[in-house]
Symmetry: C2
Subunit: 211 residues, 2 copies
DNA sequence: ATAATAAATATTGTATACATATATTGCTAA
DNA sequence: TTAGCAATATATGTATACAATATTTATTAT
């Protein structure tokens, strides 16, 4: 694994866990000193993180960690509400028993206590990805994957602060059940509800924090 | 304007205009020799173009210009069909007369004969952006902007090969008319039709070329 | 005192050079 | 003859050094 790759994961993690100050300009040299690497991998990583929504440019120089914004969370969820059912719809008829078994395995892993926020987020996405991949629509899939990725910024609140995991898991199992029965309409309904509810709680929480 | 920025525009243009071979590995050194710059800006640009869908990685080394694929065009359009009406819906109540005037100006510019493919694509996006920006939903807007950007790869076929401009312009004017009358439902309907029709023609064309 | 301009400082952009990783070719052994 | 391994060549990853650009501060003129 390259230095850049390690640095990428490290910085993303540090943003997630609030180990880097929000809203202030990040200097390449600061980071290169902090992480003991040269400025080149720092540059690469910052550019990538900027594209992925983890950092935002300020004026002409410097990047900052943008504050969490209710509206961003809302928009991300909104897009997921519209796009993910499409992907699920394409995937459902093609889903193999193996894929469904894998999805179930992931859910059971998610049931284990003591998962870190990062692990939880990763497993959550793996579950969804498992159901979407058989659609074989790479472009659509990639966009949805990006949306999930960006949602990752907010998942900390979500699963830890709000202890939403139980409800979420319940919906996951319901979704998987509908999928197994090839009940497209019901599966889509549950999925939309799953995304929407999580969004509502999160957005309300963000509003209460901000105001 | 930095070397990187100029190089970015140049290479994107060269991809659009088929001045770079499709499907073969692009070497950093080749490009750095071709464009008379060092490998660093080449690296930056290639990474950016990869993220934006203009290039695709092959194995562990090298990037290539992916061939045009009907399914990608279909997916991009599908996402636009679902997301753009949302944005238009949010924007419509907030749209100022100034913004609508600007939109009209852009349409009149689009009517001018002799526009290059790149100019046409740019103006087309400006028109849509003009209607979407007042929504003040930056996250949603950015995603839609990216989708348009990626559609740019296919616009060459679209407006030049297929001479679709007249129909497209007609729909643009209809859309603007509905917007002026604040007829949200009709505006959304026209927009969906606008995206869908263009998509259908393009996809059919791509299929006929591929098969 | 304030605004504008110029100089100085700090930060990022770019190039050259080197290290590392990957791929390809040729050789040896089965 | 072919498969596997090693060695060489080639491409990319990373660092150090330098250039350009932006920002801030200080000075001068109004």
């Amino acid at each position: 694994m390259s230095i850049t790759e390690k640095l990428y994961l490290q910085i993303k993690q540090d943003i997630r866990d609030n180990r880097l100050a929000i809203g202030v300009a990040l200097r390449q040299e600061e980071l290169s000193a902090r992480y003991k690497v040269s400025r080149i991998p720092v540059r690469d990583v910052m550019q990538r993180l900027k594209n992925e929504g983890w950092l935002r440019g300020i004026g002409k120089v410097g990047l900052m960690i943008p504050p969490l914004e209710a509206q961003e969370a809302e928009d991300l969820s909104l897009m997921r509400v519209y796009l993910e059912p499409l992907l699920l719809g394409f995937a459902l008829p093609k889903l193999s028993n193996q894929a469904m078994g894998q999805a179930e395995d992931i859910l059971q892993t998610l049931d284990r206590p003591g998962l870190s926020v990062a692990e939880h987020g990763e497993l959550n996405w793996q579950f969804h990805a498992c159901l979407y991949l058989p659609a074989e629509r790479p472009t659509l899939f990639t966009t949805v994957a990006n949306l999930h990725q960006q949602c990752g910024k907010y998942i900390g609140f979500h699963s830890v602060t709000l202890n939403y995991t139980e409800v979420s898991q319940q919906q996951h199992y319901q979704l998987l059940d509908a999928v197994k029965k090839r009940d497209t309409a019901r599966a889509k309904r549950i999925l939309v509800q799953h995304i929407q509810e999580a969004s509502d709680i999160l957005v309300a929480h963000l509003h209460s924090v901000t105001s």
